[in-house]
């Protein structure tokens, strides 16, 4: 079967259009967010990253995903190695070491790790002979596959990415038919683990953000100089956008620098301020479509590996989007979390595009033998 025929007939146009639209909105939004500031050429860089991202995705699509299955452990191992290298070669930004310099630019191996984890879990489940009635014992090996990278990421420390890894893992495990008894046991474990995490694993600034969040939910006035301030200003931006927004490049919260990290973690308030509720709903709808579409692709996948990869990529996008939107709209505490495709940042964009390339791959090869 010629590949040319596949691309013409099986190319997943809805997926491509949704992804391109979000990415394009992201660049426009970035232009507005940085207009007149010291990083006003950021949108150009983002365009380069985007082109590179589409290139990577194309490359990923070109290779039959079963090759990824074959080299699954190698990919996983490479990601783990990169994560380890962070501690040797990494540079520190705001108290945590996440980056390694690679030639002219920096990379965040923790971003790639998300894809590595998805592939590793997919490979494991693909070869798993069980078809139901799973118990906790069946979670041990996947659990270890998660634990290694998650531990490394927590050491950086990067709470947000660690959370995404855990969420991807949980989503994929929910895909399998875990026994109810096991689910209950898991929940119980979580209840025990939460305080341990709080007291021994979280750094002070992480705790502060979470505390500020609960205080705000409870209506207690918090000091707005730090994290409470971020959420407050984010809500001001979103809220003042109203139904139709203040217009492109007209957001005052953005222009007058009231939004923190406005092009990385807080691009949504910029968007919502300038394009209002209508713009916000449009953007959110694109994400909803993207996630539901990935589930559809999974349901049509011809093998387990493909299905798990599709659900994994969908879960990655879903959880990052939900946590980011929840955070900027004051529903969740402020943890560093980018909005996939939309936020400024090369590594995040690359890993997302890599994942979407895999998704397209699975989608296009659903009927081929």
């Amino acid at each position: 079967m010629a590949i040319g025929r596949t691309i013409r007939d099986d190319f997943d146009w809805p997926l491509f259009i949704a992804v391109s639209t979000i990415a394009l909105f992201g660049v426009l939004n970035l232009y507005s967010a940085t207009d007149g500031g010291t990083t006003s050429d950021a949108y150009v860089q983002q365009l380069y990253w985007l082109i590179l991202g589409f290139g990577v995705a194309t490359l990923t699509v070109a290779i039959d995903y079963r090759h990824f299955e074959r080299y699954g452990w190698l990919i996983y191992g490479g990601c783990i190695l990169a994560l380890t290298l962070v501690f040797v070669l990494g540079r520190s930004v705001r108290g945590s070491t996440r980056w390694i310099a690679l030639g002219g630019f920096s990379l965040q191996p923790s971003e790639l790790m998300k894809i590595g984890l998805i592939i590793a879990l997919a490979k494991y489940l693909h070869h798993d002979t069980k078809t139901g009635g799973r118990t906790l014992v069946d979670l041990i090996i996947p659990g270890l596959i998660l634990a290694l990278p998650m531990g490394l990421v927590l050491l950086q420390p990067d709470l947000g990415t660690a959370m995404v890894l855990a969420f991807i893992f949980a989503s994929l495990m929910m895909l399998t038919q875990l026994k109810m008894r096991s689910v209950v046991t898991l929940l119980a474990t979580f209840v025990v683990a939460a305080p341990v995490t709080w007291f021994y694993l979280l750094k002070d600034y992480q705790k502060e953000r979470i505390t500020a969040f609960w205080e705000r939910l409870g209506g207690t006035p918090t000091d707005l100089l730090d994290s409470g301030w971020h959420t407050q200003q984010s809500l001001v931006a979103i809220g003042s956008g109203g139904l139709t927004g203040k217009g492109f490049t007209q957001g005052t919260q953005t222009r007058f620098r009231f939004l923190p990290d406005q092009h990385t973690d807080f691009p949504f308030p910029v968007w919502a301020e300038e394009h209002g509720f209508l713009g916000a709903v449009l953007l959110i709808s694109l994400y909803v479509f993207l996630v539901l579409w990935s589930l559809r692709i999974a349901s049509q996948a011809k093998d387990r590996f493909g299905a798990v990869v599709a659900v994994g990529v969908g879960a990655m996008i879903f959880w990052q989007t939900v946590v980011n939107l929840g955070m900027v709209s004051g529903l969740l505490p402020v943890v560093g979390m980018t909005l996939p495709l939309f936020s400024y940042g090369g590594s995040s964009l690359l890993s997302t595009m890599l994942g979407l390339g895999l998704l397209m791959n699975v989608s296009m090869r659903r009927f081929s033998h």
């Binding site: 078809t131 809220g239 349901s299 299905a307 659900v311 939107l325």
Partner: protein, 620 residues
């Protein structure tokens, strides 16, 4: 085969997709609901904050209205004071050290300031706040030099209240001090007062606060999160007013004559305490309201320490009390005029009938002493010579009820209605009151009342107004201290017309008789104020009085001043010029002893200065 088995394996996941899709839709649905809540339902609130974020409001204080006397002399005005304001949101932590060193603050002052700043609630952090008021020239120079490095600071020139006559008339004019939470709350318009503002706290400053205050203005600047000004970068969505000019307060012109007040100040120099009131007999306009001693209004406005307050309270001459209207005294013999008029009007006495004064009068078992042996005196003589015996005899005829009735007509035991500060009512004791408080009613009470002792208590202001009624033919006026109010542009916005409270109901010939008697009190050799007369110049008429002082049981002054505080008060109340009266007055010298010797000379000399060469000044 392979395909079939693979399909079956994937089948394990099949049941999950629907649930996952449902979960995804629910979660995103929740987020959309939240965004709708923030953008659609809470929009106004967040928009308000967004606009507040990018604007910095500089207050433009209003100039408080000027108070002038009848001749246009400035009584209360404003001088520039340099105040330092900050916008707490823009203040960087290191700025505070800088400010402390520029302002030359002590460590503890700096700590206090830090605490104060820390306590500012979030909602106020974008609003300006006064850090220092009325800084001196050196501090001003230091701050101005480094102002560029401290964008969070603003130096604002604010007019500060200035009283050129210092303590003179302080009770009436009043003072300002800082608003408290209650003032801010109580103001009709919520934005009227801000913390740090000053408000009229007593006297005219309080009474006419609304007119004098004016209304503040503001100028808004567009700023970014660091507080840097971005003029010319005003976003279209900014819907707030950027400039509002302040409106100065109204100016007030008083009926008071500060030159007359100064004349009293000089005349009272020999005495530590006392009071004087001068009113225009044809209008009720108050020309002088003089009370001694006085507190310093500047001291009051900056807030008294507990210690200073205690000292002021403990001062035996009571500087905090306005003795013209808040304190009451026995009127002494100045009251005889009203006893006599009551008798004449009700025809209970033939004014020609004579009584022999032997220096005392025995009624029942009690012996009442007169000041001297006056021999045979009629009503006229007894007013001129202030013979008690005549009035005792008269009192028995007139009775307490009649005396009280006429005294009430003359405005005693009721507030004059001057409308500034608290005013005492005074007191006239009735037969019932005596029965209630002393058991049995005795004729002695009536006798005492007739000569202004007993339980009758009057204010200096009431007495002056009552004598004005005698002088003007029977009209009791509501006293007025404000002549007119002018708008900031100088146009008259309100002029106060004289208000007659009532006609006292005394026949002209009786008032005429009384006026002639009062003239002779000063002009006739036998008169009790003869020695105080102006040998040339203004002829003054009036009645002397000497009021006993209530024993000061329980007070604990050292004995050196105790003898003085037991001395009687000296009164002189009357009008001038004698033949064509223009003003009426009441002068009280606390512990001055005989009124003829203490109060009368003050009154005649001040009247000489006031009416002597040019006559009283009129409103310009």
């Amino acid at each position: 085969m392979i395909t079939l088995s693979q399909r079956r394996e994937v089948g394990e996941f099949r049941k999950r997709y629907r649930w996952m899709a449902l979960f995804v839709v629910l979660v995103f649905g929740g987020i959309i609901v939240r965004v709708a809540q923030v953008q659609l339902f809470q929009r106004d609130r967040w928009s308000g904050i967004a606009q507040q974020n990018i604007t910095k409001t500089l207050e433009l204080p209003a100039t408080r209205g000027v108070i002038r006397d009848i001749a246009g002399r400035v009584v209360a005005s404003n001088r520039p004071s340099y105040d330092v304001y900050t916008t707490p949101r823009l203040l960087q932590p290191e700025d505070l050290d800088r400010i402390a060193s520029l302002m030359d603050l002590s460590k503890s002052d700096q700590a206090t300031l830090q605490t104060r700043l820390d306590q500012i609630p979030l909602s106020r952090r974008s609003q300006q706040l006064e850090l220092f008021g009325d800084i001196d020239r050196e501090q001003l120079a230091a701050l101005e030099t480094h102002q560029a490095e401290l964008p969070a600071l603003d130096i604002v020139t604010v007019p500060l209240r200035d009283y050129p006559y210092a303590t003179l008339g302080a009770h009436l004019i009043g003072y300002l001090n800082e608003v408290n939470a209650e003032d801010i709350e109580r103001a009709a318009d919520p934005g009227t007062y801000h913390p740090g503002d000053r408000i009229g706290r007593s006297g005219l400053e309080k009474r006419y606060e609304a007119l004098l205050k004016g209304s503040r203005g503001f100028r808004r600047l567009v700023v970014d999160a660091r507080g840097e000004s971005l003029e010319g970068n005003r976003p279209d969505s900014l819907e707030v007013e950027m400039l509002k000019q302040p409106v100065p307060g109204h100016d007030i012109q008083l009926t008071l004559d500060m030159q007359l007040m100064e004349a009293f100040e000089r005349a009272f120099r020999p005495y530590p305490s006392g009071a004087a009131v001068v009113v225009d007999i044809h209008t009720g306009a108050v020309r002088a309201l003089y009370s001694k001693p006085v507190y310093d209004p500047n001291e009051m406005s900056s807030g008294l320490s507990t210690k200073r307050y205690a000292a002021l309270t403990a001062d035996p001459f009571r500087p905090l009390i306005d003795k013209t209207m808040y304190e009451t005294y026995f009127p002494g013999s100045t009251f005889k005029a009203f006893t006599a008029l009551a008798a004449l009007e009700d025809a209970v006495v033939d004014p020609m009938q004579r009584v022999e004064c032997l220096g005392s009068l025995k009624i029942g078992r009690q012996k009442f002493r007169c000041n001297k042996r006056h021999e045979w005196v009629d009503l006229y003589d007894s007013v001129v010579q202030s013979c008690n015996v005549y009035f005792w005899v008269l009192a028995e005829e007139v009775g307490l009820e009649r005396i009280n009735r006429y005294a009430k007509a003359f405005g005693f035991a009721e507030r004059s209605g001057i409308g500034v500060n608290s005013e005492a009512k005074g007191f006239l004791a009735t037969r019932e009151w005596y029965e209630e408080h002393y058991g049995k009613f005795r004729i002695g009470y009536t006798l005492n009342t007739a000569i202004g002792q007993g339980n009758t208590r009057v204010t200096v202001l009431q007495l002056a107004l009552a004598y004005a009624a005698v002088a003007n033919g029977g009209s009791l006026y509501v006293p007025q201290v404000v002549q007119n109010v002018r708008s900031p542009d100088g146009s008259l916005s309100e002029t106060f017309q004289p208000r007659i409270k009532r006609d006292v109901g005394i026949a002209p010939e009786h008032l005429d008789l009384m006026r002639r008697a009062l003239i002779d009190v000063v002009q006739d050799e036998s008169g009790t104020a003869y020695r105080a007369r102006n040998k040339e110049g203004v002829r003054v008429a009036g009645k002397t009085g000497t009021a006993q002082v209530v024993s000061r049981k329980g007070r604990s002054e050292e004995s050196s001043s105790a003898w003085y505080l037991d001395r009687s008060h000296g009164w002189f109340a009357g009008f001038a010029p004698a033949k064509d009266p223009q003003v009426a007055f009441a002068v009280l010298v606390e512990h001055g002893g005989s009124g003829g010797a203490s109060a009368a000379p003050i009154a005649t000399s001040v009247m000489q200065q006031y009416l002597g060469e040019t006559g009283p000044e009129e409103a310009k």
